[in-house]
């Protein structure tokens, strides 16, 4: 069976910035493939290269068996794209926007109206179908943008940061919809900076940093090395002084990392005894507000491989895209 996306040695530079630097990967048909990395890592540039909105400097792209290297728009009939910002027409209603997007793919009138109504129902937007897109909330806009991306039933769907900047309930609902699309057999290429989102949804994940893929594997394989580890996250009410050396000296079998000024991450191969640790911290002037056992996750692997703190990555994006 032909792979959905095959990319080899793909590079793209904008003036003196190397946005994508020789990446290679394959997305299998029916797979949900995650592209995980911080802002400016090259995620959106990669999507633009794959969807025909940009031309590669070097490398090759095959989409659904079609060579798109020299003809970037050759496979557009196979592809649906949900960009990182909603880009539908503010002056059209939700229903009109969907019908218009369906018409761009040549769907006959009766079919596009039926499909638009169906998607408005699926995305719980039927009540707002006659309202102009401009009046929709952020979450509704994201949902309608996803509906527009799948209106022509694409073989391959590109989702660029689908849950950025929307509230928790909408994000959860969107993830559910993405999972349902995947279950129905759509190949999905998902870029995200939310590690837990990638872990929950994706079959395989690529970590991209500074335009380079540093690791690709299934979520299961990636997480395996840390599954046996034990981790505790300790939060402080006030920022403690420098305790790193004292902690390492007193608890030599434990690993300590200050993830932020007021969060300490403790790792061990054996279960962590929290009592002595808390006592030590409080005796040294730290005011502990919470100690929580952590399930080792993809985040740990991401931090280990890329050296980028997930919290910092999330915070940076949310500053730009609004709360979640």
């Amino acid at each position: 069976m032909t792979d959905a996306v095959v990319v080899r040695n793909l590079s793209k530079a904008f003036e003196d910035v190397q946005a994508v630097a020789g990446i290679s990967f394959t997305v299998h048909r029916g797979e949900l493939f995650g592209f995980l990395g911080p802002n400016g890592a090259g995620k959106t540039t990669t999507i633009n290269l794959l969807t025909g909105l940009a031309r590669p400097d070097t490398g090759s792209i095959r989409m659904g068996g079609i060579d798109c290297t020299d003809r970037p728009r050759a496979a557009q009939h196979l592809v649906g794209v949900v960009p990182d910002e909603s880009n539908l027409y503010p002056e059209l209603t939700g229903f009109e926007n969907l019908c218009f997007c369906a018409a761009l793919y040549g769907l006959p009138k009766a079919e596009r109206r039926k499909r638009a109504r169906e998607l408005l129902e699926t995305f719980a937007l039927a009540a707002a179908s006659d309202r102009k897109f401009a009046s929709y909330s952020k979450g509704m806009k994201r949902k309608l943008t996803i509906a527009a991306g799948i209106i022509h039933r694409p073989d391959i769907l590109f989702l660029d940061e689908p849950t950025t900047g929307i509230d928790v309930a909408s994000a959860r609902q969107l993830r559910q919809l993405v999972a349902e699309l995947h279950d129905r057999g759509t190949t999905i290429f998902l870029t995200t900076h939310y590690i837990e989102e990638a872990e929950r949804l994706c079959d395989r994940v690529a970590f991209i940093v500074s335009g380079r893929i540093v690791r690709i594997d299934t979520v299961e394989h990636l997480v395996q090395p840390v599954q046996e580890k034990h981790a505790v996250r300790i939060s402080f009410a006030t920022t403690p002084g420098d305790l790193q050396d004292g902690l390492s000296e007193s608890f030599p079998t434990l690993g300590f990392t200050f993830a932020a000024n007021d969060v300490l991450r403790v790792e061990s191969d054996r279960p962590v005894r929290v009592g002595p640790l808390i006592r030590f911290l409080e005796e040294h002037g730290a005011e502990v507000s919470e100690a929580r056992r952590m399930r080792p996750s993809l985040e740990d692997i991401f931090v280990e491989i890329t050296g980028i703190e997930a919290d910092a990555m999330r915070g940076e994006k949310e500053k730009k895209g609004g709360g979640r």
Binding site: Q76, L104, Y105, L107
Partner: protein, 245 residues
């Protein structure tokens, strides 16, 4: 059939969201009226001068009607990224841009006939050569629209589109022989006149309305056609170079 569906729906959406909006319809009506009135006042002449003024007013109406709307509409869609949605559709770029520009062309042609209809009530236009007049209006609308497209692709902000189009349009009013013959221009400006598409369109209009043309119609139409093809090809090349870079 599929491509026709996409073409027709892009055109229909643009007509609805841009060209058939009340401010644009009123612009299409008021603008030719204001120009006609201004020239009457300026020349101090009577209704007998309508055939001489009509070609210029028609050309200006088409030029302003097409370039301003298209340049702004495309720059606006590029800015809010809805234009990306069109670029992602499986429609050849040539057809996509023709769909985007057809609305402006039709709007320009409709604008042209506002002063014509008014003139029909006020002057004797029985000698008007419609066979040359209508194709000339159409080709002026096409050339002006593609000029608007060229501007839209060259800039990135809506205000730049306005500025750039005014920079080109206002000199054209005086350089293209719309209201006074090119022969009355200073010699050093005349080559510039012949480098502008409107010169050839206006020449056909003058010829069709009152027989006052200075070049053969065939040459006018040929040069206008070359401008249309050239501006469209240059715009497409710029889109490929700048927007699918």
């Amino acid at each position: 059939m599929k491509l026709w569906t996409a073409f027709w729906n892009i055109l229909r959406k643009d007509m609805r969201t841009y060209y058939l909006k009340p401010p644009n319809i009123s612009w299409g009506l008021i603008f030719p009226l204001a120009w006609t009135g201004m020239f009457f006042v300026r020349s101090g002449s009577g209704l007998e001068s309508i055939p001489v003024l009509l070609p210029g007013v028609v050309a200006v109406s088409v030029l302003f009607g097409t370039t301003s709307m298209l340049a702004v509409a495309i720059t606006f869609e590029k800015k809010n990224r809805s234009f990306e949605r069109l670029l992602l559709a499986p429609v050849p770029l040539e057809l996509l841009m023709l769909a985007k520009t057809t609305g402006a062309i039709l709007f320009g042609v409709a604008n042209a006939f506002v002063p014509v209809i008014m003139a029909l009530f006020l002057a004797d236009l029985s000698e008007l050569a419609w066979g040359a007049f209508v194709p000339a209006v159409f080709l002026i609308a096409v050339a002006s629209t593609f000029l608007g497209l060229f501007i839209a692709v060259a800039v990135s902000e809506v205000f730049e589109a306005q500025t750039f189009s005014n920079f080109l349009r206002f000199p054209m009013i005086f350089l293209c022989g719309l209201f006074f013959p090119i022969a009355r221009l200073p010699v050093f400006l005349r080559p510039l006149s012949y480098a502008l598409p409107l010169t050839y369109g206006a020449d056909v209009l003058h010829g069709a309305v009152h027989g006052g043309h200075s070049m053969p119609f065939a040459l006018d139409f040929a040069v206008l056609g070359v401008f249309c093809v050239g501006l469209f090809a240059a715009s497409l090349a710029n889109i490929k170079r700048k927007w699918i870079a």
